[in-house]
């Protein structure tokens, strides 16, 4: 089998590197007849630009972005990669016992007012108390590490952050009051939605169909390995930034495993649709773009697992 | 009638950075209160430098220059006509005159402009004035303050003969009314003969006083003979 070449663009600092490293160290791409080229990127915006500029074939992106782009006429499509979500963190000795305790506090939010977790938290808060969270609590928006920092030094009372930053906070003694997964479940979204996915244009899917399929196979194989094989994690400690911190290592590994996608059925998109609808209702176009529902084709029909 | 200050000048050494010989070395002079002293001497001898030292602008020398006993730099501001007009280009002629001191009123400034024949130019900017007009504006500015000490570096250059006569009268009337001490640097023998009661002629390296002539005042401007004598005396000395 002649190896096919595919270029993916991934954030050099992202958790996705754990999977890439596994693929490379085990030679999984070669095994699937794929020559996987990896272009490191600085951040997610760089990924979007690289995809638009045609510098890479595949990037990692969230499904809301894909839906919004499709709505805008930019025909991109995706296959799920990760289910991990963030959660609401509080210090160990916090007086906040549950979500109603957020009233009158200052909450640090990673990203900004349009962050998806923040919208979901507002929906959840409204369903529990009937009040509008930003009116009864003060929100401070900032970059993820900044939010963690402020949680650590008392600058905020609670923090809504991404999962890998929460893992670090947990390792530093903070505790998760409520995960976004729980919030979604109580809001009626039973299954966790596939927030992140491998994203490519339909044109690429057509022109490099086989290469894309082989890449997805490779990816799912790697996920399988990471899910079941502890030894595969051993040489990832450096990438994880947990060389001499066993607790952090375990925390990151377990949280990562909890979010691994192990199957994919392009017809079963109900979790994504429900989440999208929720986001559209509570967040509006700032969060989901101009479209009000998840357009068909957001998830690539050309693959299943 | 107030009388201007007396000056004691004693410059041990004044040397410009980078130049081989000092401009002044062991230079001494005294200037009597209320006198009009004309300074003559070849180009580049140090006349303007001397005025800058007296005005307290140049302090990069060793020695003592006192004005009524006070160090030059701390004495009251002199009225100074520089060798170039040195008007502030961003102010009108009128406003340039008004910078002479705090609280110079428009009327005062207009009077000074009138005396130098610039009433019509009050609202023009310096670059709109002719060369002679600029110099007259500089003279008007220096006279506005009624300073006790007037330092005039070739003030009558670029003026036609009629104007020069008017300026002689103006200076003579200032001398007569408030009696400031005046130091007048000039190359024109006539200037010295008409206005000065003392003439210092500079020469040599380092600069020394080569001649020190005293002319009795007050003189009669119509008395051509006396003026001719004075003229001849100065010409002989230079």
């Amino acid at each position: 089998q002649e190896p096919l070449t595919l270029t993916i663009g991934v954030q050099e600092s992202g958790t996705v590197q754990w999977e890439i490293e596994t693929i490379k160290s085990l030679g999984l791409d070669k095994a699937h007849g794929l020559n996987l080229e990896v272009r490191p990127l600085a951040d997610s915006r760089a990924g979007q630009i690289a995809l638009q500029a045609g510098a890479v074939d595949v990037i990692l992106s969230d499904f809301v972005w894909v839906a919004a782009q499709r709505n805008d006429g930019n025909l991109v499509t995706m296959v799920p990669h990760s289910l991990t979500v963030g959660g609401l963190m509080v210090p160990a000795n916090s007086a906040i016992a549950d979500v109603t305790g957020l009233e009158g506090t200052t909450i640090g939010v990673a990203g900004g007012p349009a962050d998806k977790s923040w919208v979901i938290l507002q929906a959840y808060f409204a369903s529990k108390t009937g009040k509008t969270l930003p009116e009864v609590a003060e929100a401070r928006f900032g970059a993820p590490p900044l939010v963690n920092e402020l949680l650590g030094n008392g600058g905020v009372d609670a923090a809504l952050n991404f999962w890998q930053w929460n893992a670090r906070a947990k390792a530093a003694g903070m505790h998760e009051l409520l995960s976004v997964k729980t919030m979604l479940a109580e809001l009626g979204v039973a299954e966790p939605p596939p927030l992140l996915g491998w994203t490519f244009t339909e044109a690429t899917a057509e022109a490099k169909h086989d290469a894309v399929v082989r890449f997805l196979d490779t990816s799912f194989t790697a996920k399988e390995v990471l899910l079941t094989d502890d030894t595969a994690w051993e040489n990832l400690t450096g990438l994880m930034g947990a060389e001499d911190d066993a607790a952090l290592f375990a925390q990151l590994r377990d949280d990562y495993r909890a979010g691994i996608v192990s199957s994919y059925n392009p017809e079963d998109t109900s979790a994504a649709e429900q989440t999208f609808a929720l986001l559209a209702r509570f967040g509006g176009s700032e969060v989901v773009g101009e479209g009000q529902e998840l357009l068909p084709g957001t998830f690539w029909p050309g693959y299943r697992k | 009638m107030a009388t201007g200050p007396g000056l004691k000048i004693s410059i041990d050494e004044k040397r410009y950075p980078g130049s081989a010989a000092p401009t002044f070395s062991g230079f001494k002079a005294e200037i009597a209160p209320g006198s009009v002293t004309a300074i003559l001497g070849p180009s580049g001898i140090g006349k303007s430098t001397l005025l800058r030292i007296i005005a307290g602008i140049d302090r990069d020398y060793s020695g003592h220059v006192t004005i009524d006993g006070q160090p030059a730099a701390e004495a009251a501001p002199p009225g100074f006509v520089f060798q170039d007009p040195r008007l502030l280009p961003w102010l009108t002629t009128l406003d340039n005159i008004r910078t002479a001191g705090t609280g110079v009123s428009t009327e005062q400034a207009m009077v000074a402009l009138g005396k130098t024949g610039l009433s019509g130019q009050a609202s023009l900017y310096p670059h709109q004035l002719s060369g002679g007009m600029q110099r007259r504006a500089a003279l008007a500015r220096a006279l506005t303050l009624n300073a006790g000490l007037l330092l005039l570096d070739e003030p009558f250059v670029s003026l036609d003969r009629t104007l020069v006569e008017e300026m002689y009268d103006l200076i003579a009337s200032v001398a007569a009314s408030s009696g400031p001490t005046m130091i007048l640097v000039t190359h024109i023998v006539e200037d010295a003969a008409r206005l000065a009661d003392r003439v210092l002629v500079l020469s040599g390296t380092p600069t020394q006083i080569a001649a020190n002539l005293a002319f009795p005042q007050p003189r009669n401007q119509r008395d051509r003979d006396t003026l001719d004598t004075y003229r001849r005396l100065i010409e002989d000395a230079t």
Binding site: R45, Q48, Q52, W65, A68, Q69, D72, G73, N74, G108, G112, P113, A114, A139, R140, F141, G142, A143, L146, E149, L150, N153, G155, E286, G289 | R52, A55, G56, I57, A76, P77, P78, F80, F82, D84, R86, L88, P89, W90, L91, T92, T99, A100, G101, T102, Y125, H127
Partner: protein
């Protein structure tokens, strides 16, 4: 002939429109599309509120940075020992990435308005100071002599000889300064704030909504043009009227 001034901007729009029509690319919207979007965002969206927020931040930071920077620039330009001692500090300040300053201030002062404005000011002051310093160094010494002879107090010197000679440098610093400050505010609003043009632009950018980005940008540029032609130019004409007219 103010005709050229009036035509200048329409011609730019025309060039833009023609380019947009020739390229016909999703990411290159025409000025008409951008104009419509601007109108929509102003009436239905939060454009006006965002613009107000950013303008407030930018103008406050601008005024503070100009005042402090000019003062520092004059001091360093006049006293060569201060220059020798502090000009390497100025260089460090110039080259310190905005993000470092922002992080430090956000951590110490929290994600507050004060922190944002202060960060912008700290970022901009070295730029103003550097420009003004070059201006001060180019001062004509003969006016200094004049001021000296007349024993002008410091304030009179400042007003009558420093500021007029500094004018071109102040104008350069002001014109480039406003634009730089707005760009820095954009960056900082992305890092940590809950509104303002920068924040919204980064949202648009997430969806590659270039039309939205340009709508916000154009709104800001319109404000800058209004400031330029409504304020800066008239002031400039008055302040510089002494200058001989140029061809």
């Amino acid at each position: 002939m103010p005709l050229l001034e009036l035509l200048s901007f329409p011609i730019l729009l025309l060039v833009w429109q023609v380019l947009a029509m020739v390229l016909a690319h999703r990411l290159f919207p025409s000025p008409i599309a951008v104009g419509q979007e601007m109108l929509r965002l102003a009436t239905e969206g939060k454009l006006l509120a965002d613009l107000a927020k950013t303008l407030w931040r930018a103008s406050l930071a601008f005024i503070l940075a100009m005042l402090i920077g000019t003062a520092i620039g004059i001091l360093i330009g006049r006293k060569s020992w201060l220059d020798r001692l502090f000009s390497s500090w100025l260089l460090v300040g110039l080259n310190l990435p905005a993000i470092v300053v922002a992080i430090a201030l956000y951590i110490w002062l929290g994600l507050t308005e004060t922190a944002l404005i202060l960060a912008v000011v700290i970022n901009k002051v070295p730029l103003v100071a550097t420009t003004i310093r070059e201006g001060v160094r180019s001062f004509a010494p003969e006016f200094d002599e004049l001021a000296h002879a007349m024993r002008w107090p410091a304030t009179k010197r400042l007003r009558l000889i420093f500021l007029p000679q500094l004018m071109p440098f102040v104008l350069a610093a002001a014109r480039t300064g406003l634009s730089l400050i707005w760009k820095i505010v954009l960056v900082f609003e992305v890092l940590g704030s809950d509104g303002g043009v920068g924040y919204r632009v980064s949202l648009f950018f997430q969806f590659f909504d270039i039309t939205g980005v340009l709508a916000y940008t154009s709104a800001f540029i319109l404000v800058v043009l209004a400031i330029e032609y409504g304020m800066l130019r008239p002031i400039e004409r008055r302040v510089l009227q002494w200058r001989p007219a140029q061809a």
